[in-house]
Symmetry: C2
Subunit: 944 residues, 2 copies
């Protein structure tokens, strides 16, 4: 922020940050930090002068390097999972984990205590911290004096926040909306607490199991200078090491004008671990540096030589005379002294050899100092345009199971996102009654943090222990409880939706009326009453009255406006729905001992088994609102296929479980759509719910694939949709949650629905993925797929709104009694529907008088003749209840002004693809969105 | 010291301690501590005022207690073995122990780093440190600023040294001479470094496996106010808990006038561990205090209640409203934050309940603050006059094996003590050429420290891992190498000895001459040449020339003075030597799974097996110097019995090993002397080589014993001798090392010689005690027993000098070439022999102009008609090469002036035994020694 006065911890510590714009591309910042009680004293604890010219504002706190030597950047770090084997709170306090002796403590409170102590001992020492969910907990418990010390360490660049989101999100199973939110949550805390010096400059996804292009795009738009990760396909890594392509420029969007979505990306040499023999954590066994010649086993010479060898070995795979070494791992630095004491000695003794003509210079550094050095090298970096899925760490070890693991949690997370958006929007529209912000007492807080935690790469990914999965769900449920409003149907989309509602009932005669008392068309079945609501833009309605025996009433909206939707197209393509299962490998295969587990998908044969060739039971129901076919394939697999009046998509509601395992075989259930579409080996999957990537069976765009798992090696994550197409037809499947999908045969598209397994897959979770159900049997999962068939060139016009409607669903709630006379039965927050291409991604109260809004162009370039065009929104004509007094554009993460964003520029190989052009804003109040663009604005508003 | 200016670390830190004697019983001390570079600045870092009136000088830094509540003294501590599973140096640096995952790091460097950091965070926090061997290593590596901080913490009583010796010595297998030395080494370092505030006031033997009365006597004479330990017989403990006799006054000498050897002694409630559920070290699994109500599993109420329960439960076993809890264990506090953070919370939340009428007051405290509170209670405490051997922790678990474990190491340690004394004495007698002190470059340093380490309760005890045993031996060997002097036979005793010498040779004709070229009577056998040296008081001679083929020459002294020894008495008592073995329990016994191991002795039957009823081979040799019988009982057990001309004792040289174990049985070899002495169930064993205690089979003086192991439960340690007697005869066996001994039958005395075992005994060492020999077979051990038979009332006159001669042996060394003309061939350091009752225990260079001397009366009261009388030594007539200019008496530990010793006074039950009276010094230069008294003097000397 340009000027910020943050009052930390009850007013007694004052951090002043004054940044003066001195030129177009830089500014000068001065920080003063003192306890307010000392204001009258002439004690100035800190005066820091920062020049931010040319985007190098952190460089001055970066350590000196030596241009004529091999510079080894040691990066002390800890990787703190926001839940995995223990819950996030258990990890925070640490201790008491009788299950995992290795990570016995894993106490983040102690890690931060210890690191802060150790940083103070030597100004050369550096540390990075990543997971704001933990840092936030810790910060709240610190004394003012500790907070003051930490702020000073941050200002001096000795403690640096990296990544900075609430968690280190999963990349395969998350939706971009929730990812942006969790990043914003973390980044805002850092910004509010530490100002500019707390702003991360590098993204750091060292552990996620494969990397989504959309994540890279998001990070680029958030202003990050670089991105580092540890895991990629072992074949890909081997090739990159050989060709020195471990570092590259990732062009992460086909729609956004470069360098908007360009991100410098580095593959770390040892995952996120130190080189072998140099782990000095309490959890490690490597020899400490024994440098007292009077004591036994003096080993300085031996260790120094080993380090020099490791450095040269690593340098052979990278382009410059700078290399990075991650000095840390999971929950390390609980006793940071062990690390720093030995690293201090390492640096001392290795660099001492420079006097004897050694050309290795080792230094404490950070992931943001390192790319600055690479940038100065002014090289041309290889260009990457696809993504890093799927991830395999060996020939039979494809991490494609977690795309589907824990389907119920994956759905609940997705529904919670919808609820959170609603909650945020209602806080804005509710005006002054809403609370001030995410760290105040605002009601969206709890959900915001629960969702922040749920994005973690062992949360929504489904790769946590069972008790931890329950904890994530519990947190989300608490979030829901905090998002109860006195309204009953709310449509959080920026446009009208028509939405089928089914409610369980225990009678047979009901009348449903709308807000005006008019009858709503409804249908009472065996145990459900079905009806259809049409919810308008940002509607908050209580209109469908359903007098139940319990004196509860249900509100819905009657379809009193005209439908714009056409009738369903005739399905001119043969689509066969089939339910199949793969039997899971138990690791007794001759090629490999790898089992199918929470992470890994590995069927024991490449052909799935059909569960039942014909559905045993079929119930067909036809009414004015819906046509429905219920099919039972087995006692544990059924589906209902529905066609709603006025909708063009086919809804397929699947129910799978309890998956039987009495035969000793784990099972992974898919639904497969077999068509006569000539898709050949191609299929398409989305990236985090935004742009779509082309997939090709047994093929990777960046290296010559040796395929070793014909099924698992062709699975990709889908977050909102997948499709196959030929010249004439496109079959698109829109999902309600993240799943794994593939096309193994020409014309077929398969989606994995549920998994129940009997073995752990040796990636640390230590449990087989076998979710318990209600009666100690396996979990029953249920979900919806929406299928549409369109010509390819208009398909997006259909699946885009469908997918958005799946992501942001109208919110139903129930209330006892009948509405009082004063009850406001209808309310709309927007003046008018947004243009079809525009999605209101975020609407959230920021401060007392400000609102954060994100407007998104939801079409890719060239995707839709109609919609893949620039579109303009007038901010002042947006809201029905708010007057917009001012608007400032921010980075996507909302932690700096857009105009202050100064990212490093990188040279890359020329590409033959035409670069998209971008249109400009016609006026300060009019925001033009180019395809796939998200614009983040802080609006100053007044409640009308 | 009364005034001390210590220049720490190269002169840039100055610690001034000025203590002014203000009354007979107290003094005022002021400390200033500042960096010398700051001397001109007005920055006074520390000003501490201490009153030492009434011996309560530490009380002012003790925390406040509440007289109307139960005060729980939390004592944060770490127990750092000076070698056990890892060597002392490995423990210092930590890490890299792949054998023991629990104590993976056990890095003392990190412990001290971490504790010092944590103590600074809150002045209420306390820590005690015990093992100076480690602290010394650590201190040397610290910066001046850290040293300054540590000194301040010590001065404020926040870091307190407890015990303070170089190690926490074993009590069963150590010799008092080495124990006093190792204590002096540690205490002197503390005194030199920290002055009076660094002086430990409490002895702390929390881990040794049984407790020797002589140790208590030593601690009392060193000025300690109390003594705490953790291990005692389980039956004894149960009884003491019941009768509230966990705390007592130990009257540790039958000869010294009370309260000279009285020591307040406390049994700790939980060994040295915290109460169950309150271990917060990184190596523990107990729940941390989770006090954030916003996070999961808030557990403050539950933990507080659990703590209150534990406190009340413990208080039931103790007499006052103060109880002590040891908060720590083996190598804990490597990450002290975990402990302190949770203890801080514990104290906060437990004491917060006082507002709600709780009567429990918990506080950080130390083992010296705690007894001061007990002392104020002014109670009468039970009296203890025997010792705490043997130690059993269950019915079949007697820790009596280690009395004998590793017999070769036990001998080497004993010989090294002799060498060290010689080394010390020669430094004094060598005058200005000798180095300044134990922390300078003095040659005795290395041996002094090696011996300090070897006294540890997992060193000479034989209970360490094999590789650690090698390390102790290596250290001693290095010590020997640093004690090579240009002299060849040196007698370190204060009187003349006649000493048989056997040297291995490879020829058959040798002539031996003395310093004057006269022939020495010698005898060449098969591989040995035997001769006899008589070495005079503090002799340094090179007199016996033995022209070997290798041009080496050997020096010995010819018997040119008259012998005062009588001929051997006729052996009028039948003594049968027999060699037996016990077969070790393999833990497959129905009563218990306990095995025999390094610690535990548990034969699988109560009757030993005779190795061979008759010796198979007997060789008899008779010469003018020695009569010798060699007996082979089996290929692995033999003995040589010798009677030397002019000596009255019988020498029995035993050779045992390799002990065969191919039959699957571990074996413990004893020699048993069966006599017709009517000893009934009584026998006698020494305590650490000083006073002798009466033992009675199947009996303990302090409780009604339920005997469960008829052999192992009757074993006691002997360090120098054991005897049986009746009215007429006493058979005394003098040993060359510490061993286990017992008398199972009337008239018999058995001594365990060697042990080889096949199983670990589950006390942590994790190895069976099976020492490797030269060719990957078992170790061969060899040793000597000296047997004398005398009337009981003159027995001490014989065995006392014999044992002293065994402890301090003439030092032989070898040199190439022949002595040059200038070589001084004879030299005596004392003017005359000391009186027979007086033993020169210590003669050691202290500072440039000072010498530490300890004179000991080596007879117990009433032990000898001739010698159990006060005896006076004139200090000025002592040395032939030194003039004594001044003498100041010190405490036994030489860390304070005797006149400043102010120990707490304790009330105890009246005893019917008459108290010994003590004679006074006739003049300032004349030192009178009462029976068993040791007087420690610092002499100011000038080289003549």
């Amino acid at each position: 922020m340009q000027e910020a006065v943050s009052d930390l911890d009850g007013g007694s510590l004052i951090l002043l940050s004054k940044c003066l714009q001195s030129s177009n591309r830089g500014k000068h910042c001065t920080f003063w930090l003192w306890p307010s009680s000392d204001l009258n004293q002439e004690v100035k604890l800190l005066l820091l002068y920062l020049s931010t010219d040319n985007g190098l504002q952190s460089l001055q706190s970066c350590p000196a390097t030596n241009p004529s030597m091999l510079n080894v950047h040691l990066v002390p770090h800890t990787h703190d999972d926001v839940g995995w084997l223990k819950t996030v709170d258990q990890y925070y306090y640490g201790g008491e984990d009788l299950l995992m002796s290795d990570l016995k403590h894993a106490g983040v409170q102690y890690i931060l205590d210890s690191v802060i102590d150790q940083l103070q001992k030597d100004p050369a020492r550096r540390f990075i911290y990543v997971e704001t969910a933990f840092f936030y907990r810790w910060w709240r418990q610190q004394s003012q004096s500790t907070q003051r010390i930490v702020a000073q360490l941050v200002n001096e660049g000795r403690l640096e926040f990296i990544n900075g989101g609430w968690c280190m999100s999963d990349e395969a199973t998350t939706h971009y909306s929730a990812v942006i939110d969790q990043m914003t949550l973390g980044l805002r805390f850092l910004n509010d607490t530490f100002g500019e010096c707390g702003r991360p400059r590098v993204a750091w996804h060292i552990d996620p199991f494969g990397h989504a292009r959309e994540h890279a795009s998001i990070f680029a738009q958030m202003g990050y200078d670089g991105f580092f990760f540890g895991r990629l396909d072992y074949q890909d890594k081997a090739r990159r090491m050989k060709t020195k392509e471990m570092e590259m420029l990732w062009r992460a969007s086909e729609s956004l004008t470069p360098p908007l979505a360009d991100l410098f990306t580095g593959v770390l040499p040892n995952g996120y671990n130190p080189p072998e023999g140099f782990c000095w954590d309490q959890s490690c066994d490597d020899a400490p540096i024994r440098d007292d010649p009077d004591l036994e086993d003096y080993n300085v010479d031996e260790i120094v030589q080993k380090f020099l060898n490791a450095s040269y070995r690593q340098a052979a795979f990278y382009k410059t005379n700078h290399i990075i070494m991650t000095m840390g791992s999971d929950f390390q630095y609980e006793n940071a002294n062990l690390w720093y004491k030995n690293m201090d000695k390492l640096i001392k003794y290795v660099n001492a050899l420079q006097a004897k003509e050694s050309k290795v210079n080792v230094l404490y550094s950070t992931p943001s100092c390192y790319p600055q050095e690479l940038n100065l090298a002014n090289l041309t970096w290889p260009l990457k345009t696809d993504d890093f899925f799927p991830y395999a760490d060996d020939a039979h070890d494809f991490w494609t199971g977690y795309f589907t693991s824990r389907p119920a949690l994956k759905l609940y997370e997705r529904l919670s996102n919808s609820r959170l958006q609603t909650c945020n929007q209602l806080e804005v529209l509710g005006g002054p009654k809403s609370k001030s912000g995410p760290f105040g007492e605002g009601d969206s807080d709890t959900m915001s943090k629960a969702m922040g935690v749920a994005q973690h790469h062992d949360a929504v990914s489904g790769t946590e222990k069972q008790h931890v999965a329950y904890d994530y769900a519990r947190r989300l449920a608490t979030g829901w409880a905090h998002c109860e409003f006195s309204m009953n149907v709310y449509n959080p989309l920026g446009r009208t939706v028509s939405w089928p509602v089914r409610l369980p009932v225990n009678g047979s005669v009901y009348s449903v009326t709308d807000a005006n008392g008019r009858a709503v068309d409804s249908q009472v079945g065996n145990v459900f009453i079905s009806l259809k609501c049409t919810c308008y833009i940002y509607d908050m309605k209580s209109s469908c009255l359903l007098p139940l025996l319990s004196v509860r009433w249900f509100h819905c909206l009657s379809p009193h406006r005209n439908e714009s939707f056409q009738k369903n197209e005739v399905m001119c393509v043969f689509v066969l729905f089939g339910n199949y299962r793969y039997n899971a490998s138990a690791g007794n295969n001759k090629e490999s001992r790898q089992t199918s587990g929470a992470y890994i998908f590995r069927p024991n044969s490449s052909d799935p088994f059909v569960i039942n060739k014909t559905a045993e039971t079929q119930i067909v129901t036809v009414s004015s609102t819906v046509q429905e076919v219920t099919q039972w394939f087995s006692p544990w697999v059924s589906q209902v296929v529905r066609l709603y009046e006025g909708h063009r998509e086919l809804e397929m509601e699947w129910t799978v479980g309890p998956v039987p395992v009495a035969d000793g075989l784990g099972k992974e259930v898919i639904t497969r759509l077999d068509t006569d579409i000539k898709s050949s080996d191609y299929f398409y999957t989305d990236s985090n719910g935004r742009e779509v990537l082309e997939r090709r069976k047994d093929y990777r765009p960046t290296w010559e694939l040796k395929q070793t798992e014909p099924v698992a090696g062709n699975y990709y994550p889908i977050n909102s949709r997948a499709y196959i197409k030929d010249d004439k037809h496109q079959l698109t499947v829109v999902t309600d949650r993240s799943q794994g999908a593939s096309s193994i045969y020409n014309g077929s598209l398969e989606i994995m629905l549920h998994r129940r397994l009997l073995y752990d897959d040796f990636r640390g979770v230590g449990e087989p993925l076998s979710e318990p159900g209600e009666f100690s049997d396996g979990l029953v999962a249920r979900g919806r797929l929406l299928l549409t068939l369109s010509p390819p060139d208009t398909a997006a016009d259909v699946h885009k709104p469908l997918a958005q409607g799946m992501v942001l669903q109208p919110l139903l709630s129930f209330q006892d009694g009948t509405p009082s006379a004063n009850t406001k039965l209808e309310f709309s927050g927007l003046q008018t529907s947004l243009p079809p291409a525009v999605h209101l991604l975020t609407l959230s109260q920021w401060d007392k008088d400000t609102v954060l809004i994100r407007l998104e162009h939801q079409y890719q370039a060239k995707e839709s003749k109609t919609h893949s065009q620039p579109v303009t929104v007038n901010l002042q004509k947006l809201f029905s209840t708010l007057e917009v007094l001012g608007a400032s554009e921010m980075s996507l993460g909302a932690n700096q002004w857009k105009e202050d964003m100064n990212r490093l520029q990188w040279n890359t190989e020329k590409t033959s693809k035409p670069l998209p052009l971008s249109a400009k804003d016609p006026s300060p109040w009019e925001v033009t969105l180019n395809p796939m663009e998200i614009r983040t604005l802080l609006l100053r508003v007044r409640q009308l």
